[in-house]
């Protein structure tokens, strides 16, 4: 059934897929989601630790920094497998986004500490890049260090974080700061996320940081963030493609087993054609992910960026609309919380809304192409 097909002559990718499946068999994703939701938590520490031990929090971190030094191909394979298994830890933000932010920051003791903690799972890093409306975060020099004020929204891991990676306006440009979660002047408020995890709003009220907290500076936000956003979008697209593919399989199994009017409902032509449509959408999503990874690897920056936009849009649309149809094909059962398919739908919605919904991504693609 649908899967992103990369060259895998040495079988390493298949191995990666197997290890995710093995983890999922011990720590089923759906159960983890329900537990997390009941506890109002923002992560499953057991799962995250297991992932760090497997090396999946540092896939993209260069070897000389202590990471696995692998490529987006491996990241996509892992993310896709996590999506399939409904393991809903915020890998795209807490691992991928954070990894790229740090890998591109200046070398420093602080960066070393953060990278090491991310790789071995001892630190939980929460990138915070999206400003609250009318409350953007800015930093100013103060007392030999910096003072941060403002608000960041849509922050994953805001409760569990040991450290935040915060982008703030600084001296007419922008800086990336490492902010300890226990810092004075920092407060976190959470709301329920549709996928079961709490989402944070982080407020900085005269939050003082030492000089060493400044990890990187740049003249524009884009310069600091674009590479991280691009990689995170690839991871999200892959995870969405995994969700999409698995939702098709689950629905095929369900409709083959569910008998109405003396026949499995999968034998009705209307159901069959809908399943074919869903399967095809998932195949297109997987192909788009492969295209994004390969085009990025080819090195043409503009082409790579466009390919990523297309992949995130395609996989997001596919995952959400496949899951919607999947819920419908589960009949009343699909409307219950007990049935896993609803959790797939909710997870798909959440990832689809992260870092750009399809409509916005498509427009960005066209704007890039037509400006060229």
């Amino acid at each position: 059934m649908p899967q992103s097909i990369f060259d895998d002559s040495e079988g390493m990718l298949a191995m990666l897929r197997d290890s995710v499946a093995t983890l999922a068999s011990r720590q089923p994703g759906a159960a983890s989601v329900r537990q997390k939701r009941a506890a109002g938590a923002d992560m499953d520490k057991v799962l995250w630790t297991a992932m760090a031990q497997a090396g999946w929090t540092g896939i993209l971190i260069p070897e000389d920094l202590g990471g696995a030094g692998l490529s987006l191909t491996e990241q996509a394979v892992v993310s896709e497998a996590l999506g399939r298994a409904l393991i809903s830890e915020p890998v795209a933000t807490g691992a991928v986004f954070a990894s790229i932010l740090l890998a591109r920051a200046d070398a420093s003791v602080e960066r070393g500490r953060l990278v090491a903690g991310l790789v071995d799972g001892s630190l939980i890093l929460a990138p915070a890049w999206k400003d609250g409306i009318g409350r953007s975060v800015s930093a100013r020099a103060a007392d030999g260090g910096y003072m941060l004020s403002g608000e960041k929204r849509h922050v994953d891991l805001a409760v569990s974080a040991t450290d935040f990676l915060v982008v703030a306006a600084l001296d007419g440009g922008f800086g990336l700061f490492s902010v300890p979660a226990k810092g004075v002047g920092l407060s976190v408020e959470t709301a329920h996320g549709v996928d079961g995890a709490a989402i944070g709003t982080v407020r900085f009220d005269q939050c003082w940081l030492p000089q060493a907290a400044l990890l990187a500076r740049a003249s524009s936000e884009a310069e600091l963030l674009d590479a991280a956003i691009t990689s995170a979008r690839v991871a999200l697209a892959a995870e969405l493609a995994g969700i999409a593919s698995r939702a098709v399989e689950i629905t095929i199994d369900y409709t083959k087993a569910r008998v109405q009017f003396g026949k499995p409902i999968a034998s009705f032509q209307v159901v069959q054609h809908r399943l074919v449509d869903m399967w095809s959408d998932a195949e297109f999503a997987c192909a788009a992910v492969v295209n994004a990874v390969e085009t990025l690897a080819d090195g043409d920056a503009q082409a790579g960026r466009m390919a990523v936009l297309a992949a995130k849009a395609r996989a997001g649309d596919a995952a959400v609309s496949i899951c919607r149809r999947a819920v419908h094909l589960h009949g009343a059962m699909g409307f219950t919380d007990e049935c896993d398919i609803g959790l797939y739908l909710k997870r798909a919605i959440s990832l689809n809304a992260t870092l750009g919904q399809p409509e916005d991504l498509r427009l960005e693609f066209v704007n890039l192409e037509r400006a060229a």
Partner: protein, 387 residues
């Protein structure tokens, strides 16, 4: 209490006014426009009893049984105003389903016993049709009732029983015979006191985290034979004789209206109406809703003219449930990154329950006969297509 002829003789506008007046006087403001679509009995009992006291509880029941005896046309107004004024839904299986069925098929004793207790709220009813392996295909139900003297002994399970956890009586379809050739035969309607030993209810949480519906288990539950409605083994005919004209309400514009109100609120708060791309998508939904109103009116007119509705009315049900979904999906798109929230999202100084409605919109396309089943029926009954 006013007599039926009085209500039906009133001009439509005056009747509307009377309803509005009642709502002003008796419906607590905190119960208007509530978010919950299926409140429990206790949550809305004030309103239930107020309607009963004022004689407005049972719009279509005959006057002699405490109803208003409204014509279908007046009943449509009643339903319209109910929605327009934001009245909360009340547990209505007793009023809308069991009452009418008893009126048509019940004995005098049954009517005398059950009907008043529905009006007082002493009996709160639920409806036990669906079973785990008979969703769209009701005829395949398996909950068995075996005769034992002057009682039936019931064993089996119902599912998707709406509000069973706040009901004390269940109106159940049970299988009393397996011998019949046609599968619809051998089914009997039983009224079951849910406080009888052996009845167990398990609420089922839905996608929104609420528990609208339940499983109901029967384990050697003894039910007096006197609780049979109609003839033994002929329950199918009883069960399907729901008031024909009520089917139009499955196609009502209410749900997409609620949804588009939320979409508009969010769009205003975010300035989306200034974006021609959004405006173009919004226009499609807005016109779908407007045209649904025109199509609804075509069937309402039939009722007002004293006609009967055909199978074709279910085109409304398909359209309104799909439109409800499209609009709630659009709202999530407009929400942008906020579509990650399960909680209500900010819209200016107000909030919008974008996810609540999106998730809720999954249900109506399934319940009351999935849209696929509706199309199968339309293909046969209206388009007369061959099998």
């Amino acid at each position: 209490m006013t007599s039926a002829t009085d209500w039906n003789a009133l001009a439509d506008e005056a009747f509307r006014e009377a309803f509005r007046d009642l709502v002003e006087r008796r419906l607590p403001s905190e119960l208007r426009f509530i978010r919950k679509q299926r409140p429990l009995f206790d949550e809305v009992s004030v309103w239930y009893h107020a309607l009963a006291e004022e004689g407005w509880l049972a719009p279509v029941w005959p006057v002699e049984h405490g109803g208003m005896g409204l014509t279908p046309a007046k009943h449509m107004i009643y339903v319209e105003e109910w929605g327009r004024l934001g009245c909360p839904r009340i547990p209505d299986h007793g009023l809308g389903l069991i009452g009418p069925l008893l009126l048509e098929h019940g004995t005098d004793e049954q009517k005398a016993y059950y009907l008043p207790r529905i009006l007082t709220g002493e009996h709160v009813w639920c409806q036990g049709y669906s079973e785990p392996n008979s969703g769209s295909d009701l005829a395949s139900l398996r909950t068995a009732a075996v005769r034992d003297g002057d009682a039936f002994v019931v064993n089996g399970q119902k599912i998707w029983t709406t509000l069973a956890h706040c009901a004390n009586w269940i109106f159940a379809l049970v299988r009393t015979s397996r011998d019949e050739k046609v599968r619809q035969k051998g089914i009997t309607v039983l009224l079951i006191d849910m406080t009888t030993p052996g009845v167990r209810v398990r609420p089922i949480a839905n996608l929104r985290g609420e528990t609208d519906f339940c499983e109901v288990f029967f384990d050697d539950v003894r039910v007096p034979v006197a609780n049979v409605v109609g003839q033994i083994d002929q329950g199918w005919d009883v069960a399907k004789s729901v008031l024909g004209h009520e089917r139009i309400f499955l196609g009502a514009t209410t749900r997409p209206e609620i949804a588009i109100e939320r979409l508009e609120k969010l769009a205003r708060a975010r300035g989306a109406f200034e974006d021609p791309a959004f405006r173009s998508r919004y226009a499609r939904h807005r016109l779908d809703l407007y045209d649904l109103g025109s199509a609804f009116e075509r069937f309402a007119k039939v009722l007002r003219d004293g006609g009967e509705l055909g199978a074709d009315v279910s085109m409304l049900k398909i359209f309104t449930t799909e439109l409800y979904q499209r609009i709630t999906e659009e709202t999530l798109t407009l929400a942008g990154e906020d579509a990650r929230y399960f909680d209500d999202i900010e819209a200016g100084n107000d909030q919008v329950d974008a996810m609540n409605l999106f998730l809720d919109s999954r249900a109506p396309a399934i319940f009351g006969g999935s849209n696929e089943i509706q199309k199968n029926i339309l293909a046969k009954a209206v388009l007369r297509l061959p099998s």
